[in-house]
Amino acid sequence: MDYFIELFCSGLTRGSIYALIALGYTMVYGIIGLINFAHGEIYMIGAFTSFIVATVLSIYGFPLAAIVVVAGVAAAIWSSAYGYTVEKIAYKPLRHAPRLAPLISAIGMSILLQNYVLLAQTSDFLPFPELIPEFAFMEPIAHIIGSSDIVILLTTTVVMLALTFLIKFTRIGKAMRATAQDRTMALLVGINVDRVISATFIIGSALAAIGGLLIASHIGQINFAIGFIAGIKAFTAAVLGGIVYSGSCSGEPDSGPDRKFCHRLYFQ
């Protein structure tokens, strides 16, 4: 039974991690039908940004809570800028091209960003500071579920609720749903489709950046290549959870423990 609970908890955590990244995939796929392979790289850039900001802030002796918030916000903004730019450079010119063309350009973007970080930073693994502290009240059950697992679970839940609210009840959410259903028709009724697509990339990238911060702090190390595998796994989660976007993001949370058990059954 203990074993089951342990597996269940770490399955939930892992599922939440992938869900945070998978949301970005799903949103983009839903709206422009593109599998954004550069998304994992955006996540990696988020992790690196928060690493740099957190290191600088901790040198100046800021309290941990301030570091987490500032690093998170900085990473989200920086990654959003990357997501926005990638869309403008690599996908927008190909909006009316055959479907394979933007896919190839997405893979190209992924390789470009990876190597850019490799050259700008380092090829080595870097020790990521422990941004999520070990809570004292968690100590009795620390062998089953850690503090960072709890924080990841809570953050993912909050982010998903916020996103559901955004999609269902706000103006931009309505515009997104409309664009997802029929882009031409959305244009005809006066929705600025380009702006909606940009917004999608910005939101997805910000989520990936938050994921980057949480996961890097959970695992404790980063390097330039972490985005690739995380991206592939999140993509799997997105497919299993249902990549077709219909205004809610209920698909992903289920895939956590499922994925974990499947993984154990079939791959190990």
């Binding site: 074993y3 597996l7 770490s10 080595d124 693994f125 620390a142 850690g146 959970h218 190390q221």
Partner: protein, 384 residues
Amino acid sequence: MFFNWRKKVKLKMRTNPLVTAAAVALVTMLPIAGLAGDTIKIGVAGAHSGDLASYGLPTVNAAKLVVDELNAKGGVNGKKVELLIEDDACKPEIATNSATKLVSQGVDAVIGHICSGATKSALPIYKAAGVILISPSATNPELTQSGDYPNFFRTIASDDMQAKAEVDYALNALGVKKIAVIHDKGDYGKGLAEFAKGFIEKSGKGEVVLFEGVTPGAVDYSAIVQKIRQAKADAVIFGGYHPEASKIVSMMRKKRMDTVFLSDDGVKDDTFIKVAGKDAEGVYATGPQDNSKNPVAQVAIAAHKKAYNSDPGAFYESAYSAALAIMNAIEKADSTEIAAVTKALRTENVETPVGNIHFDEKGDAVGVGFAMYQVKNGKYVEVK
């Protein structure tokens, strides 16, 4: 691309005869310079980029230092030594390219490759071309013990000796009974893990409670950590490299497990301590013997500090030894011809940072072994 370039040259040929003359001169001169044969060409191949670059770059430094010193003294047998450096990123598929490139540039011997998998895939190319390969770090036993590669030598002991050192230490010095053997599915890690499993079973003193592989580069390793706990292992023997080791150790400590962690020279690297931080404390790893008392090693390390203003990295000493050994053999053989150099490597002893060595029939260095180290206060310290 190529066609465009040719077109441009043709265009210029019509317009500017001077450029034509220069181009013709360039094209015809290059091969002459290449064929002159007034240098001894030594290739240096290994991981110089990617996440295992920290294993490969010290070898480049070592080779440069040895060769610079020789050239300053007038070279070997009156010829200058020239280094050709090729990156294989520790990937077998890239290593074959590096090997082909080095062979086509006419190397006389190669120092490398660094990783066992890359070495294995590159060896047949060197064998066919009659090029000697001397590796400072490829520890896969097959490479020498299969007898397939008479052109292969190494200045580091093979994995079975390393696995034996780990198992002996775990069973005898630490007295553990239940051991989980984990590996990274690679040539090096899995090979080592299989040897460790074999030695544990043969000893009769311990029991292998878990034998499993993990996928390198995965996001987290909580599943394998839970399995280790479930198996109630007292110790973990891990075959693989430091990126996976540090994640597994950190995850174990995070789950409040104090299971002993033993690993290999793929983990005995300061990057491991840097990344795992406080979780690295107490981890055991085997590595080449401590040679700090050896005067040749002291000279080699001092040279590195002088030239690069830093401490040498992983496999520096064995790489320095490999470079000394091959240069010594070429000098004693007074030739770069493979049979003569092979004979010299096997018969002529040479003073190196890893000791006074020569090579046996299979290509392993005689007089090189492993020692056990433990992380104490952020440093690897030798334990007895």
